[in-house]
């Protein structure tokens, strides 16, 4: 099966879901989500049956990479994320219905629900395309497909001021960053005369490179992508948008959007790194952003009391570790001896996906029962629902980077790259950040286990949906497997 069929399947699924929503009378519109989940599971299976084309004569392959395991890996990340997001969304539908139900009588109370399940499918198709894009145009188209879907999803709870505010913020800042990106692309095209990444690479690794112009192009692109992945100082939208958006969408943003941003960054930075004149300055620029991101993300997470904001800053912090890996790119002579930053980043993102989605799954389940997303809402969770508390502990341990979880190996590989590249300053900042992480991740454990309970408090167990429970168990298992044998995950990359 040709590889681009995957995107086609996902888009068609999205369209089918919209059509079903419009034309089929459903008692419970959550069955639309079922279509999506089923389709995504099938698509995920098809990932392993991809055939690469024999000839790449067709102009299509100028826009789309071929023979590229990394792209498949990131497509897998996109599909898995969307799958879990749909599971969460279907648990979360009660709140969506509350916030979107039409005021007039006689309307279907769930009339606003169908698109909530269909939109992630389009975002997913965009993410998958992005993983394979190797032309400035296809990168841009993919990025915008994703972003526009997100504009809608973030502001989805239309009777909720927070969600609307988040939507507006995301729209304005997103549009701004898109502007930067396009301007950077324009400069890049001007400098190299091509929009195809391979050709850009050839042009930049030549002798007469316009250093100033290329650096300017790179900084514009870096700014735009730092915005997407949440690199400081372009991270300001993250806490507000994360807090306001519906929880499943927050999860999608924090995993899907970040993964997509990094694959684009990896692809776009590659031509620049091949230029001997540029490489030093490029690394320096990334290092500066990485240091800022590590400091801002980790230290701002410390005082947070709202769980979503805490996870928002944690997502900034993890972007910092990922940028740190990127800043430790070995020179051409060392390459091949070690794990490449690209692989480390891919692994880290895989681990990040598992642990973040697990946290959000628990959070969604709790949120449906308990209003409010403050840390105090998790008071006594260990007594009420030991399983949820256990899942949360595993997720937090992994996010904090405690051994025998996937998150530990993520940090381990990053630190290892820093030691190899002798980036001592970056390493120190990373250490401080990881140390701070112990505090803010354990804060959640503390609120689940340590806080005193009022006798008045409800202590009945929180119901967990069957699908959510299965998803949690699978995620926990994967986190532990990734923590024991990361080679299994890294092996998917080659």
């Amino acid at each position: 099966m040709p590889v681009y069929f995957l995107e086609i399947i996902v888009v068609s699924l999205g369209i089918i879901m919209l059509l079903v929503d419009a034309f089929v009378k459903l008692e419970d519109k959550r069955s639309i989500a079922w279509i999506g989940m089923l389709g995504l599971v099938v698509t995920f299976g098809l990932l392993f049956r991809v055939q690469w084309p024999e000839s790449t004569e067709s102009p299509f392959w100028n826009f789309y990479t071929t023979g590229d395991q990394m792209a498949l890996y990131f497509k897998g990340i996109a599909i898995l994320t969307t799958l879990v997001v749909l599971i969460m969304a279907s648990d979360y539908s009660r709140i969506v219905v509350d916030q979107t139900a039409p005021p007039e009588k006689g309307a279907h109370p769930q009339s606003g629900l169908g698109e909530f399940f269909a939109l992630p499918m389009f975002a997913c198709a965009g993410l998958m395309l992005m993983a394979s894009a190797n032309h400035l145009v296809s990168i841009f188209v993919a990025l915008e497909t994703v972003t526009i879907a997100f504009y809608v999803m973030v502001a989805y709870l239309r009777r909720n001021v927070g969600s609307l505010e988040a939507g507006v913020k995301y729209l304005i800042l997103g549009a701004l960053s898109t502007g930067f990106l396009v301007y950077g692309f324009a400069w890049l095209y001007g400098m190299t005369g091509s929009m195809q990444l391979e050709e850009i690479k050839t042009a930049l690794s030549g002798d007469n490179v316009n250093v100033i112009g290329s650096l300017f192009a790179f900084s514009l692109i870096l700014v735009a992508l730092a915005f997407k992945v949440g690199g400081a100082p372009f991270h300001f939208w993250i806490p507000d948008v994360y807090q306001g958006a519906p929880t499943p969408i927050t999860a999608f943003l924090s995993v899907g959007s970040k993964a997509a941003g990094f694959i684009v960054l990896l692809r776009l930075i590659d031509p620049f790194l091949s230029s001997s004149e540029l490489v030093g300055k490029i690394i320096l620029a990334v290092t500066v952003i990485a240091v800022l991101t590590l400091i801002v993300g980790n230290l701002s997470a410390l005082p947070q009391q709202n769980f979503k904001r805490l996870l928002a800053y944690s997502s900034v912090a993890h972007a910092g570790f990922l940028l740190m890996a990127l800043a430790c790119t070995p020179t051409a002579s060392q390459a091949g001896e070690f794990l490449s930053p690209a692989k480390v980043i891919a692994f880290y993102l895989g681990a990040y996906l598992l642990m973040t989605l697990l946290a959000f799954l628990v959070m969604t389940t709790v949120r449906v029962q308990i209003p409010g997303e403050d840390l105090t809402s998790y008071k006594g969770l260990a007594k009420r629902s030991p399983f949820l508390a256990f899942a949360m502990i595993i997720s937090m341990a992994s996010l904090a980077g405690i051994p025998l979880t996937a998150g530990f190996f993520g940090k381990f590989f990053v630190f290892q790259l820093a030691v190899q590249q002798q980036q001592w300053f970056l390493l120190t900042v990373g250490l401080v950040g990881a140390g701070a992480g112990f505090y803010y991740y354990l804060k959640i454990a503390a609120s689940m286990f340590l806080s005193e309970q009022d006798p008045k408090d409800d202590i009945s167990a929180i119901p967990v949906g069957t699908l959510s429970r299965i998803a949690m168990i699978v995620l926990i298992a994967l986190i532990l497997i990734g923590g024991l044998n990361p080679a299994l995950i890294i092996g998917l990359l080659s």
Partner: protein, 499 residues
Amino acid sequence: MLEIIVFLPLIAALAIGLGAPARFSALGASIITLILSLVVAVQFNPNVEGSYQFESSRTFMDMVGFPTLSLAFGIDGISLVLLLLATLVMVAAVLVSPQENEIKGSSKLYYLSLLLIGGGAIGAFTSTDLFFLYAFHELALIPTFLMIGIFGHGENRVRTAWTITIYLGVGSLILLVGLIMAVFALGSATFAIADLIATAKNPETGIAASQQTWIFAFLLVGFGILVSLFPFHSWAAPAYAEAPAPVAMLHAGVLKKFGLYGLIRIAMPIVPEGMAALLNVLLVLLLGNIIYIGLVTIAQKKLDRMLGYSSVMHMGYVFLGLAAFNQLGVSGAVLLMFAHGVSIALLFALCGWIRKNYGTVSFEELGGIASQLPKLGLLFAFAAFASAGLPGFANFAAEVSVFFGAFQDTGESLGWLQWTTIIALWGVVISAVYMLRAFRNLFLGTPEKKMATPADMTMTARLPYFLLLATLIAVGFVPEILNQFIRPAVEGLFLVTAG
């Protein structure tokens, strides 16, 4: 065999999590591990130098561009002694734990955490793969946090839980960087400790001296935080004071030894020149442990804090043994790790009993317990004497060889090491002062009026205390029980160092 010993507590913890009876499973698992580790000790052949026995290894991860990772276990004399310590203290800790219905909160969580802390320590001591050595130790981090935070006593227990967790978390991160630096400076193809050492001993592949200093600095700070080396000690005493007695026993008695074990096993053979370069720094720091913390210990007004500080203080002697850097000193250090572990566990267990039955451990509110409960008084006196290093107890034998070790290589004049030792000898006086003071305040004199008169322990309840005390006395009279294991292992350590 070792795999069973390592995984039994962890499996039992899992079983408890899934609903097995908590105390029964914990007790069963810890007793079986103790018996199995005794069997290992009997079958262990002390005449084999330097290499591991009971080895097992499963390659776990073999990846291009990354050292091979194996789940490998094996013991030499040093790890055997620590394994015995861990299993012994774990049995005692489970035995002195409260019955399930006496635990406020989830008894499952209580026993599960105990097993994870103990199991983590056992795993760390028996792993021959650097990665798992590190990972097993970290297993105890979150259970300790929960145990102190939930089941601890005192109003500050949540704060204390934070302090110890962050402190140890950061310590292990620093340690991790040191270990990564060492492994990649060696360019080793595996994480197996034996391979790493062999590479480091080879003059062609060993690490350059300047780099060794850096790596040792990281390792010293990292391991030092875990052992509460001065000035990284401030987490220890409050944590031990406020932790439930079994956790204090396991942590102060067993888990803390991991840092020292790491220095012996990893830092000394791999970066010996780095250690030599920073030896004087270490000497100053260990004097901080012995003298400064010693004086702090004297000033304590509560038994639990006093014991906490005293356990910090005694770490100074172990460091002194390491600093001596010869067979006698290092063997003494290993023996002292064992002796101190058992004696502090015994003291914390007694402290826990006193707290439970009198409701306080403050020197001012208690007194004359010996007139109420003479047998308890005798038990405590033995424990205190052992800890202060009176002849006849294991601690004495160990401390003596540490001191002799420090003087062994004296040349014409006394060096820094010898002067440090001379000052450190005063620590013995200090510990006698605070131990006797504690004994007098608590046990001698007439009972305070407000004091309750609890029933004496039953014979079964005494079992864990006798177990620990008997070990101390037996090893004290016949140190050869353990020295026969330690000596060849330490010889092996230095044999490779020389070649």
